[in-house]
Each structure stands twice: as C-alpha cells, then as structure tokens.
Symmetry: C2
Subunit: 388 residues, 2 copies
C-alpha cells in the first residue's frame, strides 16, 4: 500500500441556501480543492462523490457526481457515487484513498455535497430517516432525536452525566463556530440557553441538536510522487477505517461498539495512540453523540468526558481539541458533505491555516463520521487519521 | 495489481415480485453467491452494494447494503453503497475488484439489487428518470424511450438500418430468455410481433423496450491465494473500465464515445481483442441500444450490426453470442442488479454451467452496462472482461 497525501481541500460555507443548486455548491468546493492542490481538472484520474438525501428530497439520484463534476470540466474518468448515511462523505474520501493507496491511480478526488433544507423540514426529516431501515425505525416514529434521547438517558443514568455537562458540548462547539468563517452558526450560547431552548426529545433541546443545512466539501488526494510535484506541505492519510454492523450487539445503548472497533483499527493502522492526537472532528449530531463518540473511539476514558467538559480539556488549547470547527452542532451538518468537510478542517489545522480557531502546533488529527440505523443495525462508521 | 478471481455468483429470478422485499431479493442472491463460492459469510472482508432507484421509489436510501447483508449475518466489515445509474451494479463489482486487486482485501462481495416495480409505473418512470440530470432531461419530458427513439432514427438514417433489423434484436434476446430459468420473460416473439406491439416512441415499440422488474445478483471476488482454497474453477477478471462524461462530444447521437473509450481501455487492459470474445452481455435497454453498444465497444465494425442480425451472427453458436442470457429485453432490467447479473451470466458460461443457452467452448466474455443522462452529459459506462 502506498502513502497517500491530501494535497488540496475546499469547502463552501455551510448554511441554508435555498437559491443555490447542489451542483453549484459542489462546483465551488471542488474548484477550491483543485486550486488549493495546484492541479488542473485534467489531472484528476478518478472521483468519488458522497451524498445521502438528494434522491428522497428532490427525486434526483444516481448521477450527482457526474452532474457536479462536469461543472468543473471533469469528464471521461471513473466517477462513482457513494452513499453511507452520515458517513457518505467519509466513505467517498475512503474510496479515493484506496484508489491511490492501491497504486491504480495517482490523483483522486473526493467530494461530499448535500442540500438538506428544501423549505420543508418534514421532507428533510423524511430524508434523514432514510438512513435507518425505515420499516423498523422511521416508520415507527423513532427518528434520530428520539433515538439519541434514549441513549442520552441511559448514558446519564450509567455515568452520572448531568444535563449541564451535555450542554457544555454545545456551548464549546458554538464558541468554536464563531471563529470559523464557514460555520452555519457564529453565535455563542450559554449553558442556560442550551437548557432552556425548545425541548425536542428529552433531554435534548433545540441547541443540543445539529441544524438542517446545505453545503459541500472536496479533497484532492495524491501519491507521494504526484504530491511532490504540487506541494511542499502535504498532509498524510495515516489511517482509514470503515465499520458496519451493530452499534452495540448486547444492546447496551450507552456503548458504541461500532466506534470502538473503528477507533482501534485506525490507531493500529496509524501506529499511534489517542494521546498523540492534537484535534478530533467527531460526529456530534447531538450533544450526547460527542460524549459517546469520543469515549467509544477511545479518545477519552469511559465515563470521563463529563469531567473533561467541566475542566475544558476538549476546548482549543486543552488536552485534545474536539470539534474546533464548531462541529455538526454549530458548523452544520449537510449530511453527505460532513465527512469531507471534517478532513478539510483537519488539513487546515495541520497546515497551520485554521485562523482564529487554530489548534496550536497541531501535527495529528482525527476525523470521524457515523450514521445509519441503530435499532435496525444498519450503521456505518468511518474514521480517518491525518498527520503532517 | 493482483489477479482477482470471481469464485462465486448468485442471482434471483428477475420479474415482478410485489410481495418480496428488496432485502429478501438481496439476501437470496448473496447467499447463493456465498454458497457457490464455498465460503462463509465470515470470510467476506469488504462489500459494495449497488442500487439506483430505491430512494426515489420508497424513501429508503443510504444503507441498503447494511440492510441486505445483515440478513446473511455480514456485519462489522466495510460496506459501501454505490450508485451509478444503470451501471450501479457494475460499479459495485468494480469497487470490489479494486479492493482485492489492490492487495488490501482478499475476499470481497459485490451485490446489486433493485425493486423497480411498485405497482405504479409512473413512479418507476420517475425513478428511472433520476438517472439523468432531471432539470435538463426528465423534467422536460425526455425520458429514456424518447431519447433512444431519437438515436434510433439518426442511426437508421446514417447506416440504413431497418426496423426489421432492430426487431431481430428483440427476437434473438427473447429466444435466449426462453433458455434462461431466471429470465423475466420466457416467451419467443416474431419480427411481426415486435413491430406490431404498442408504439412507445417511434420507432421503438413495446417489445423493443426492456421491461420493469425486480431482482438481485451477487458475486464473490478473491485473490489468487484465497481463490485456490475454495475452487478449482475460478474465473478471472481480465479487465475493468469505468468511464463518464459525454456519450458523444460532437453531438453525433448515433455514436457512443463513452463505449468507444471504455471498450478500448478494457481490451487494452485484458491484452486481447474483440475477436477473442465468445460472448458479450451488453446493455440492450432498447433494441437500438444493442446495435449502438456492440458497435461502440468495437465488438462489431461500425454500421455492420444490421448485417450481423440478418446473418444470425450474434446468436448462440454464431460469431459472437450477444446477450445469451436474454439481455435486458427478455431477462429483465432491475437496474442496480443488472451489472452483477451480467457478470454471473458470463461466469456460468465460462464454467460451462449455462445449461440450454450455453455458448459452446466459451473462454472469454464481456459484460457492459451504461446509464445516466445523455442530453445532460451525466453518463457512466462500465465494462468488465472475464476469462477462464
């Protein structure tokens, strides 16, 4: 297996862009990544494009990659459209990594794009529910907020985690989002505001949930030789892991078996441990999700993230900056785009280009996305570790 | 790049199965392939699952692979869902091939599954139209039959092809379908019946078009070493090519630039020529499509397939058996399943297991799928060459 570098990244602002077609969002992100890489569209040899919700929302399915990429003049090459619920963008990135690591291609493109908000939140909810096996979850009313509320209750019971500790995730991530020009939300909030915002599914309030939004992100990956022609500042893919199956086979819903396996595989592949990480972009679709994922991935010992929140250890400048971008809670979560946007964020930090939210001296970062059905055992979890 | 063998294939009957869920179709095909390979579900290290229409038809998207594979106890491994219009199944097969050829995985699974018929043909038509960029094609009324009718008219004008010659494709493929126990149609038809069936889009009549239907197919791929443990009768993947972009950049709609490039790439990779093929499963979504694809791929010289039809050269026992399975016209076209089903058909012939439709002494076969938008330049074309 060959070394693979990320040589360029791009990302649109995340937000609600009712008047911007998804192909324009995809075009902007792709073009930014190509310019950032210092390559031409003609240099791209293979491309993978992740999307999750477009088919259900608009009826446009199957060929989104072709639709986006012709906008930047990329045609002729293999283009493959990838879906894996909230890990769609990460899965596209992983396929692009495999294409280069295998030695088959020298320069690959990964794009994630989503237009989740179509003026009707019920339609967005229907589309998001399609990430589960709908007959066992969505059709029975178990949408994502309901599911995570159940898990939160069990987690709080088991570890003594308080509502205030959960709320601190949102406070931290909204604070980080204020320093990210591409973030959907750039407004700080207090613990009280999180707790007092509208109840969605107890204990999760409105400010405990990620927003609906649109956006796109892209990354150009290259072999060592191809990277050397374009950049003196490559970021290396140290590990890529994708797991499926069950969140938790023994039905202890406070655990994340999926993350435990993916985290173990990724750190083994990278030859490092969690203590070597400077930042982690973790799939904080809800406040409780950041808790469960950082512990599931082994970034924080079991049951200790409440204490981390109290001590501020996951803030920028703390032991391990978690979601310095603002995460899904503040930066937003256009589903198919998120995995690639996380990679872009890690790359900017490792290059020292993250501006006001820069994690000082960042050398190693992790990007994690998880999605899919829980009660129906149909999830996907994707972890990448990047290093200077 | 390592040699990759197909060590097991499976396929459901194709047809209209209103009472059978897609996960059951997928389960049957997957289980058949696993049994055929002589492996256990635990031996599968990575899986790719192709589907095209389910999200638009039912609202179930994103995680079909996870939904199908848990039915045979496959979980934990990387599962990635793939879409590429009519080439969705082929693209899943290609990704599985790449995973093994790269050396990253030893045993991979490719599945294609589709439930295209939901009791309402308008819904199926809407879903199929999503393979184009809908705002430029489907929403303007240019559905697939209309598009292929336009191309047929131009082709007939340019090469003097007659309606009778086009009809002979359907006659041949329906005859072949009668010998295929898994075929949706098992009823011969005459030239007159093809010409006199209901007009859909002049010159394409009902019997010139592939039917709506459901089905699934699966293939297990393995490295040379892994294959040696399971089978003494492996079939090798000699070439894999995937192209995108434009059917024809100079807008001569009688040509297939996409097929020309993919065919050239595949034969170059396999180190053989079209004259070495014994059979070809070609994407005959309409009678004219078989004409354009066999010529586009270089299997038959430009403008000569009409003569081939008159001479019976593409029948089983002729120069090159084209669509011995019955093709899309008779065997059926559950979109996401088709590419993998073509591979299964070629494998059965190369193993000498194709029963009454066996191509005598078959040693090399080709499988071709093409789909996506034409006017909107969003197609995908995938070609595989398999050999004993």
């Amino acid at each position: 297996m060959r070394d693979v570098a990320v040589i360029g990244v791009g990302m649109t602002n995340f937000g609600k862009f009712l008047d911007t077609p998804i192909k324009e969002l995809g075009r902007m992100a792709t073009w930014d990544a190509i310019k950032d890489a210092g390559v031409s569209p003609k240099d791209i040899e293979i491309a993978y494009v992740g999307n999750a919700c477009l088919g259900v929302i608009t009826g446009q399915a199957m060929v989104l990659g072709q639709i986006i990429l012709k906008e930047v003049g990329i045609r002729g090459i293999p283009i493959t459209n990838v879906e894996n619920a909230c890990a769609s963008g990460s899965s596209a990135f992983r396929e692009a990594w495999m294409a280069v690591a295998s030695g088959m291609y020298d320069v690959a493109l990964a794009v994630g794009a989503e237009k989740l908000y179509a003026g009707d939140t019920r339609l967005s909810t229907k589309a998001l529910a399609a990430g589960t096996e709908i007959e066992y979850e969505a059709n029975l009313g178990l949408t994502m907020p309901g599911h995570w509320a159940l898990r939160a209750k069990r987690f709080m019971e088991k570890y003594g985690t308080t509502r205030e500790q959960l709320a601190k995730v949102s406070v931290k991530n909204h604070k980080n989002g204020c320093s990210n020009p591409r973030s959907q939300y750039k407004k700080e909030c207090t613990i009280e505001e999180v707790l007092n915002s509208r109840m969605i599914a107890d204990p999760l309030t409105m400010l405990s949930c990620n927003p609906l939004g649109d956006g796109a992100a892209a990354a150009v990956l290259a072999s060592k030789e191809a990277a050397a022609k374009c950049t003196t500042n490559p970021v290396w893919v140290a590990a890529s892991a994708l797991t499926s199956g069950s969140y938790d086979l023994d039905r202890e819903i406070s655990r994340n078996q999926l993350e435990e396996v993916a985290g173990r595989q990724a750190f083994e592949m990278a030859g490092i441990g969690p203590e070597d990480l400077n930042l982690a972009e973790v799939h904080d679709c809800f406040t409780i999700a950041e808790f469960m994922r950082v512990e599931g991935l082994g970034l924080v010992p079991e049951g200790e993230y409440g204490n981390w929140m109290d001590e501020g250890w996951s803030e920028i400048g703390g032991k391990l900056a978690v979601n310095p971008s603002g995460g899904l809670l503040a930066k937003g979560h256009p589903v198919g785009a998120t995995g690639v946007a996380q990679v872009a964020e890690v790359v900017w930090h490792l290059r020292g280009e993250a501006g006001k939210r820069q994690v000082p001296g960042a050398k190693v970062g992790l990007a994690h996305c998880s999605g899919g059905g829980v009660a129906s055992d149909t999830p996907a979890c994707c972890v990448h570790i990047l290093k200077k």
